[in-house]
Amino acid sequence: MILTSKSPTVPNGVNRRRIVKKLSALLPFLALAVLLLCTAFPEFLAPKDPYAQSLIRRLKPPSFLPGGISGYILGTDQLGRDILSRIIFGARVTIITSVLAVCVAAVVGTTAGLVAGYFRGRVDSAVVRAIDVQLAFPVVLLVIAIVAVIGPSLSNLIIVMGLSAWPQFARITRGAVISVRDLEYIEAARSIGAGHMRIMFRHILRNILSSIIVYATFEMARMMLVEATLSFLGLGVQPPTPTWGGMISDGSKYLGLSWSVSFFPGLVIVLAVLLVNDLGDRLRDFMDPYLKND
């Protein structure tokens, strides 16, 4: 009786909850689309010129707060430049450097891990030693040292960040290779006359690719933080090119006068890193065959 009387309301509640759940599932993809659009076409999205300075309207609060100027939604920095436009333009540097750095790390690390795990023996010991040595250095410190020596250009930054992250890839790949290399289908591949290269880069790599891709996503989030750190320290892409880390650094000198100069780029970094991590989680669930039942 109770059940029947309640039943008409139950589906409604369930439906509403389901719709909310679906929308929240879409949210990160929307955010990702916005981020990618900012990377690709900042000119069209930014409301103002990110380089246009004006000492009259410097350090203004956001437009929705008292003292804000309309049109400068997130306020202006110490040179009177529009913060929102600079954040939009800053996405490009962050995304490009972190994506390319992860690519460099993935290629170097995966190759090293494949070779080490496949051949074992001396090659393996050498690679594992190299991994241990590099992991003993704090990544940021290492990158700072190298960038300080060879100079902070965009390509240098990408290569150095990439090389700083290869050991993790190598370790993950090596472990996965070791678990796959003695399986029967690898032996079967050898028995049809496949060479080492073919077995490593076709048979083994294809089977462990999903874990590498998932790890690459998480690594991407970390690279965004490293990039922001380096920009904050002035070792990243040089001014006047807007970068999120650089903006925080600029604003930190004026924190007493205006909180918004540092706050919004910081918020964006937090959101972007969260977003990429969330995507990594989803990707892992998607690629894990054991979680595919639902």
Partner: protein, 350 residues
């Protein structure tokens, strides 16, 4: 019964039948580096495979039969190596051949199928792709579409229905029997002269076993290939093989044609194996098991390795040289000093 003892048995044999021998193995010794020192999994094996015939290698688990086949393919695990002996394949010595040359032989001229069809196919590729790979590994000029056609033809030949559709399926979409057919298609797509089948039916249902054996037999008639069949199933041997070699603890103890060995087994181990097989024709009796178990590799008994488990053992069996091969009848060799057991040991058996 004439008894010709000869320590040079392999050469004798090779001389007499060399014209139709595809693969001959002489004095093969395969050793493994372990913490307990170097142990020999295969120790002085002599066999020869006749063209277009099937040679069965029989023995219980751990007797070295799989290591023998991996030695031929040179796919031994990292700590193993062929430390002595010859493997001659069509006039070519395979031991010590450079890896690149061996790769050209593997799959192209000597192919192999494995025990576990469930795990022998790469789960990340369609079966078509894996067969195409086998084709293109040996002939880079074959275009993808031609190779695909050949793959479909190969699948049809091993009796896979709707091969045009199946070619794009992944291994997990196929049953065990179908996967073993795919493995066979993959092994035979380059028309090898020798096929090594390492327990090809052990992991399959009995009805599927019969189908796979039937398939292998008809493919052999079609292509004229020679088969080395590794098995512990004497029923399969009787069904499939022309010649057989019984292996015990890394050595061949008896070899000859299947009818010779089945009808007139000479080595006590062969007698034991045959005695432990159930027969429908006889009244139900308790099966005779061979007492004891296979000695561990690093603690092999001296002399004949079977002597601790043998009912006919005498003092001479325990000294070196007791496992010398002698020819009991034309082409039927046995490594037992007491052979022919039935004549020499009648009083013991009774």
């Amino acid at each position: 019964m004439t008894q010709k003892s000869s320590p040079y048995f392999s050469e004798l044999r090779a001389d007499s039948v060399s014209h139709d021998v595809v693969l001959s193995i002489a004095g093969l010794r395969t050793t493994f580096r372990t913490d307990a020192g170097e142990v020999a999994a295969v120790d002085g094996v002599n066999i020869s495979l006749r063209r277009g015939k099937t040679l069965a290698i029989v023995g219980e688990s751990g007797c070295g039969k799989s290591m023998l086949s991996l030695s031929i393919m040179q796919l031994l695990p990292g700590n193993g190596r062929v430390s002595d002996g010859r493997i001659d394949f069509e006039g070519k010595m395979l031991v010590g051949v450079p890896e690149a040359e061996m790769q050209a032989i593997r799959g192209k001229r000597i192919a192999m199928i494995f025990q576990e069809p469930m795990t022998s196919l790469n789960p990340a590729f369609t079966i078509g792709n894996q067969i195409i790979e086998a084709i293109r590994a040996h002939d880079k000029d074959v275009t993808f579409s031609v190779a695909r056609e050949r793959a479909i033809k190969a699948l049809k030949r091993v009796g896979i229905p709707a091969a045009e559709r199946r070619v794009d399926e992944y291994p997990h979409q196929l049953s065990g029997g179908m996967r073993q057919r795919v493995m066979i298609a993959m092994a035979l797509v380059c028309e090898p002269e020798v096929l090594i089948a390492d327990e090809p039916t052990t992991a399959l249902d009995v009805t599927v076993q019969a189908q796979i054996l039937e398939l292998l037999k008809s493919l052999q008639n079609e292509t004229g290939m020679s088969i080395i069949l590794i098995t512990h199933d004497l029923g399969v041997v009787a069904e499939m093989a022309d010649d057989m070699a019984v292996m015990y603890a890394g050595r061949i103890v008896e070899t000859g044609s299947v009818s010779d060995v089945f009808d007139d087994p000479q080595h006590p181990y062969t007698l034991g194996l045959l005695g432990s097989t159930p027969k429908i024709s006889e009244d139900a009796k308790r099966l005779v098991a061979i007492k004891g178990s296979v000695p561990p590799l690093f603690r092999m008994p001296t002399g004949c390795r079977f002597h601790p488990r043998c009912d006919f053992c005498i003092a001479e069996c325990k000294i070196e040289g007791a496992s010398r091969m002698s020819e009991i009848s034309e082409g039927h060799f046995v490594a037992c000093i007491r052979a022919p057991v039935e004549e020499n040991c009648r009083e013991l058996a009774e």
